[in-house]
Amino acid sequence: MRKAIGAFLAIALVAGVAAVAHRPGPAGAQGGGTIEAAVTYAGAPVVEKLKVNKDTEKCGTEAVIEKVVVGPNKGLAHAVVSVPGAKGAPKAVKATVDQHGCKFVPHVTAMTPGELELKNSDDILHNIHTYSTANPSINKAQPKFKKVMTEKFEKPEIIKLTCDVHSWMLGWVAVMPNPFFGVTDASGAAKIENVPAGKYTVEVWHETLGKQTKEVEVKAGQTAKVAFEMKK
């Protein structure tokens, strides 16, 4: 009887797993773990301010260039946490950057190779000027009537985004080789889910504070925590 139940359960499990495996889901969903990164910076925030001499209805009268954003408990925002060594097919998710209030929103966008949607919700002229080496750099005007533009970034690389019309506008697009990445929020936290179990080097990148790496072991169904303290 016990044997029968055991066999039944085993069959049910296999069938269930097979069903899950067949369903198109995020890569590495099966038996994956989670990485929770906490990125901190002990230094002071770096903010530059600039008087705006045009488009003040859209841009405000003072432009704030936030080079280092430090939140509560020294949490560092806008840092890209990634697991370069993990294997997984890129998600087909279109990343979006909006030019809003003469800022790139979000300030840092992480995406897998593919298309990036560039929005202009400001109703004024912006120009998308990228600085890149692996991907062709672009400098395209996006006048007020051109609400959406789509650009392709095929190769992993961190790309600087600027607008020459509004020189304070600065954004970053992190094109990642795999879907295992996250961008830290205002509290400096980033969560990467469904990472296949294994030992990895986790990397963190910040536009002014540079890179750091740490070794992490990810176990299926568990959360691995990793803390980075960024330094100048």
């Binding site: 672009i138 005007a141 007020k144």
Partner: protein, 526 residues
């Protein structure tokens, strides 16, 4: 150069070759060369026929290969002619580079401003063109003096500095279908100019005075000025319509100028914009050699925008940077002043128009000086060719200056050199200036006759030496950092009296009377 070249391509059946991924075939160069050489052959048919023959000849692949530039030979020429600015390593850091703005091209980046391609790789012809024609408005001179072969060799050598960047074949830019210039097209172009906000950098009237001007940086972080669209002869890639349309469609690589091909409402708007830009100013400045001072019997308007001034044809005088005395001005901001002048029996008045993208007054805290301009004359107009030293005179021979400084107004001064300027007490000069959209217009007036030896008296029909100096305070110009001219001449036209309206009719009437008399006498005798 362009029309016969285009003709050749068509004659050769270039459409078959001209797919989007057309590599820059060295044959096309050879073809262009052979066509250009034959350009002075009279008759277009002959040219086309010759090009056909030449075209079929160079289409043979082995011949094509033989035409490519030799990088080794190019290196020799490069080190002799180019390295001074562009550096031995091609990184744009030659010994002269620090004095130049815009900076010399860094060839190692493989980024080229002037391309006819849709991708980053320029064609060999693009590079050859820049070497041959130079880049107007920059320190890059035209190198047409070099043998053509040397220039092709230079193209080959320059490419070696960024060989990996040239791995991608040039992809020809396909421009939308040409729209000929017409008032409607210009109107549409202006509409688009406003819609795509060209004024942000280039200014409302195109004089490079837009609000983003001060923020603009090139790919290397150097400040870069937007083009003054009213001065087409300073366009880096040439003043022609196709060239302008190409820059609009393509952008200017390594600069803030973005590509607009996909960012106008309709593709043909590129041509409407082109036609509008062309309508903003002449293709060449048509520099004057003499300033005519027109005689008038009426009062002379103080207002620089008065109709009196609009009805006069200006004399355009080129200005150069002052590079004789330290501190020198290697990159002058003001390169042209348009002069109009009139006089009546009491006064002489000068109307000066010049572009200055920044309006500035003396602000010592910001290390800014006021914008200024001056007219220079010998203190006494003498017969003969002897004149004081053009750079504001010297210790033995002074000059007389009629000056205007923004915020301070007009004054008269005596100068014995650029640093020894003494104001003349009891200045009799007056003036009024207006500034709008990157341009100053100024009227300076003075009595025609002088009461003392420090100031000249202006006399009709006498060739009077005149020179000009200008300062753009916003560009950090003051003192010897100025733009200036050498001596020019101005001439007050002879006053035209009303006798010309009286004497000819009187003569005619008298003649008629004599004739009638003769006829009458003859009739009587008969």
């Amino acid at each position: 150069m362009i029309p016969p070249l285009g003709g050749c391509r068509v004659a050769r059946g270039g459409t078959g070759r001209g797919g989007p991924a057309r590599p820059d075939n060295p044959g096309s160069r050879a073809l262009a060369v052979s066509c250009r050489r034959r350009q002075f052959v009279p008759g277009r048919a002959v040219v086309v026929a010759l090009c056909l023959v030449a075209g079929s000849l160079v289409a043979v692949p082995s011949f094509v290969a033989g035409q490519a530039g030799d990088a080794g030979a190019g290196k020799v020429v490069y080190e002799r002619k180019c390295a001074g600015c562009h550096g031995d390593k091609g990184d744009g850091k030659g010994p002269a580079a620090e004095l130049l703005a815009p900076k010399p091209r860094d060839f190692t980046a493989g980024l080229y401003k002037i391309r006819t391609t849709a991708n980053k790789t320029p064609t060999d012809q693009d590079l050859f063109r820049v070497i041959t024609e130079g880049m107007p408005g920059t320190s890059m001179p035209p190198w047409a003096v070099l043998p053509e072969k040397d220039r092709w060799n230079l193209v080959a050598y320059v490419k070696t500095f960024a060989a990996d960047k040239f791995k991608e074949a040039p992809k020809k830019l396909e421009l939308p279908k040409d729209v000929a210039a017409s008032p409607e097209s210009v109107t549409r172009g202006k509409e688009m100019f406003e819609a795509i906000e060209c004024h942000k950098c280039h200014g409302t009237e195109g004089r490079a005075d837009g609000p983003s001007r001060a923020e603009l940086k090139d790919e290397w972080g150097n400040p870069i000025a937007p083009a003054n669209l009213t001065k087409r002869w300073t366009f880096r890639g040439g003043p022609g319509r196709t060239e302008i349309a190409t820059r609009l469609a393509n952008g200017v690589l390594g600069t803030p100028m973005p590509a607009f091909l996909d960012s106008v409402e309709k593709p043909e708007d590129i041509w409407h914009l082109t036609n509008f830009i062309v309508s903003l100013g002449p293709e060449s400045p048509r520099y004057a050699t003499l300033v005519q001072v027109t005689a008038t019997s009426g009062a002379i308007a103080d207002d620089p925008n008065a109709d009196l001034w609009k009805n006069l044809t200006p004399s355009s005088i080129p200005l150069m940077g002052q590079v004789i005395v330290d501190p020198r001005n290697f990159n002058p901001s003001i390169d042209l002043v348009a002069v109009r002048a009139v006089y009546n029996d009491k006064e002489i008045a000068f109307h000066l128009t010049w572009d200055d993208p920044t309006q500035s007054v003396d602000e010592p805290a910001k290390k800014l000086s006021g914008d200024a301009i001056s007219l220079q004359f010998p203190p006494q107009i003498t017969a003969g060719t002897e004149r004081p030293y053009f750079l504001m005179g010297d210790s033995s021979d002074a000059v007389y200056l009629l000056r205007w400084v923004n915020g301070k107004g007009v004054s008269e001064a005596t100068a014995n050199g650029p640093t020894k300027i003494t104001p003349i007490a009891g200045s009799e000069a007056t003036g009024k200036a207006v500034y709008a959209n990157g341009q100053y217009r100024l009227v300076i007036k003075r009595p025609l006759a002088s009461k003392d030896a420090a100031r000249p008296t202006f006399t009709p029909a006498v060739f009077t030496p005149v020179a000009f100096q200008a300062w753009d305070g916003g560009a950090g110009e003051s003192g010897t950092k100025m733009s200036l001219t050498s001596w020019y001449y101005l001439r007050l036209e002879e006053p035209q009296s009303n006798r010309r309206f009286v004497i000819p009719p009187v003569v005619a009437i008298l003649t008629l009377a004599v004739m009638l008399l003769v006829v009458r006498v003859a009739n009587r005798r008969a």
